[in-house]
Symmetry: none
Subunit: 401 residues, 2 copies
């Protein structure tokens, strides 16, 4: 499954990046395969990349989505159990006197600090009434997981803007009272540990902002979720540079890989990502290769940039066409549209092509938003995609007699 994040678009003057890009391999895939449009969640519902990837892996996001915190936590490698509560976190700089909640946030990214490993080690030594774990994410970011059966009906400690005080975590339900107190205790103790940490004292000497507070947001409780293997009898690998997508893969029990040079932006090493994915096909039944850049470029509203990236991506896709389609099934699609005219995810359906010896090849010869609806798949839903592929591969069981 090649999932090109945010690639489809809304037309501007009748043109989309996909319709103007020179992309002989994507067009060849459309020509050799069966094509259609797909609502990854449901028509008119704007998908997040996390909810849509859950759906594309066959998991109903309305049933299994648990918020961003747990998925990011899984993405950076924390093994979550049902009932664990997870937050996204930032190292930040606070000033003032009194407790951490009397202090004002002056930099939500602590000078975009990168080397946070030692700080995280120190935070993990804090004594709390519950088990917890802090783990590094990209840059100044981290995740914090509190173990046990907690409620995520909590307010955030991150004020989200500079110039405001660190917020106290407040319970929004009686069941969250205890964990709210523990989170406030953690926030205070974290500040004390960080404030006097040698790395911060050194930063102070060098005139850098101290990473002396940790701010929490995006709470979610890990749910009971069946594994991909239990559900489909197959093992799963996800190749991505994006923690959120790796997290979706891990949450459903898959393995996640980030090859050397994969960055999640438009300078990513496509050769390595594609090579890694094709290698993994030898060990894994299902390999999901996630390419992030077109989404980022869509958010930047850069039409030409999207065209250029699609053309560069296309130049690497010839290798897909060399696969043996009597044994392999290749899906090329996206998790959602990110139109350059909008700069956000939209619910415009994505383009989908399925390549396999057994597909009913249609007349579609170009991989575009305008050609796909004329294809043999018509309009499908994200939740059905994997089932369609497993059926083509004769890996499906009959329902009934």
């Amino acid at each position: 499954m090649l999932i090109v994040d945010g690639m489809p678009d809304r037309p501007i003057g009748g043109r989309t990046p996909l319709s103007v890009a020179k992309k002989p391999n994507l067009d060849k895939i459309a020509e050799m395969g069966i094509n259609g449009i797909m609502d990854t969640i449901s028509p008119g519902i704007r998908p997040g990349s996390d909810t849509s990837h859950l759906a594309l892996l066959g998991f109903d996001p309305y049933k299994f989505y648990m918020g961003r915190g747990p998925i990011e936590a899984a993405g950076v490698g924390i093994d979550l159990k049902p009932g664990d509560i997870a937050f996204r976190a930032n190292f930040a700089t606070v000033v003032g006197s009194g407790s951490v909640f009397d202090k004002v946030v002056v930099d939500r990214r602590a000078g975009r600090i990168e080397q946070t490993e030692e700080l995280i080690n120190a935070l993990n030594e804090i004594d709390l009434p519950v088990k917890f774990e802090v783990a590094k994410a990209t840059g100044h970011r981290a995740v914090v997981v509190f173990r046990g059966n907690s409620s995520a009906e909590l307010t955030e400690t991150d004020p989200k803007v500079v110039g405001e005080k660190v917020k106290k975590c407040k319970p929004l339900a009686d069941s969250a009272k205890e964990i709210a107190e523990i989170i406030n205790e953690f926030t205070q103790k974290a500040h004390e540990v960080l404030e006097k940490h040698s790395l911060n004292l050194e930063r102070e000497k060098r005139g850098l902002p101290k990473a002396n507070a940790i701010l929490l947001r995006g709470a979610g409780v890990m749910k009971e979720i069946p594994s991909f293997r239990d559900r489909f009898g197959l093992n799963l690998a996800v190749v991505s540079a994006t923690a959120l997508i790796k997290g979706v893969g891990r949450i459903v029990g898959g393995d996640a890989f980030t090859p050397q040079g994969a960055t999640g932006n438009k300078r990513t090493n496509l050769e390595a990502k594609l090579g890694n994915s094709l290698d993994l096909l030898k060990k894994y039944d299902v390999v999901l290769l996630h390419i992030k850049a077109p989404d980022e470029i869509g958010h930047d509203r850069d039409f030409e940039g999207k065209v250029e990236f699609i053309e560069r991506l296309d130049s690497h896709l010839g290798r897909i066409l060399d696969l043996d389609f009597s044994k392999n099934c290749v899906i090329v699609t996206s998790d959602h549209s990110t139109p350059v005219s909008v700069g956000e995810h939209t619910a415009d359906p994505v383009v989908v092509s399925i390549l396999h010896e057994g597909v009913r090849v249609d007349d579609v010869k170009r991989f575009t938003e305008f050609d796909a609806p004329k294809g043999g798949l018509c309009r499908i839903k994200g939740m059905d995609l994997l089932n369609i592929a497993l059926d083509l591969l004769n890996l499906s069981k009959k329902f009934g007699a």
Copy 2:
């Protein structure tokens, strides 16, 4: 949303009214927009106009439909609370001796009486153990609402044919025992009040049938239903001459309008309805304009009549094309098909065109049952229509991250 009731058809000799009518504006809408076919409820399910309008407004009719009584009651302006039980009612003529239930219905429409206002005022003075309200509907019709938490598991008092006695209302569940007795008490007291009413004594003198009974049918209990505003954050206006459609709009918290000269039949004032709808767009986020006639003509099995009405309707639609489609989204569709070959609502999917700057314009150039399936929307469901429009207008929220 322009909803042309019952417009699509089944072909007779390969032709449908839409395929032979000269309708340059509808065809221009198809050409400028994205097209498809739509199952307003679900494939193969024959929609009522009430259930399909609920779906087109984003409310699952399987969850929220409460029967015709409450919707008609809302349509004539009664403000319903959850638990209220509503009936459609007819003024009728009964003869004989004894109680009303011993008397025989000789005219189910009381000589098609029109001026029922005074009779209704008198009925509203009746003393009953529960609060109730009688309101005028068109002609000899009315609605009756009994307030409070009642069960609608009741038989009807309307025998539906002349020559039979007025029926006693019987409970079909224990929970309906009390209300059944009250309804019988109401039916008897109504007869006593009407029998001696001056208006009826006068009718008797003039040789007209007395409107001396009120017959109840179509019981339904008002349900808890979220408002359109709560659901979508938008306000809604419905423009229709049909109480049932106005009722659907009001049941979901919208405002309903019937412009001067709007009749619900083929002589309706289309200029006024369209003008009123375009004006309302200044004050309302969503305006649903309902045109009833093609359904009526379909029930009459009049092919040429349907062609003529479509052509007349089309001559008024040029004004829609003058809207600014960077800011507005126009949907042209129907609530169901009413084929002239059947004379009833059928589940044949309806034609749908969506006009907005951001749509992926397809190759469809004619607004017909034969061209629509080739369009870029493929086949959608009524429940998804509004979500698709809100996404195009960037009024949607993202699900996930």
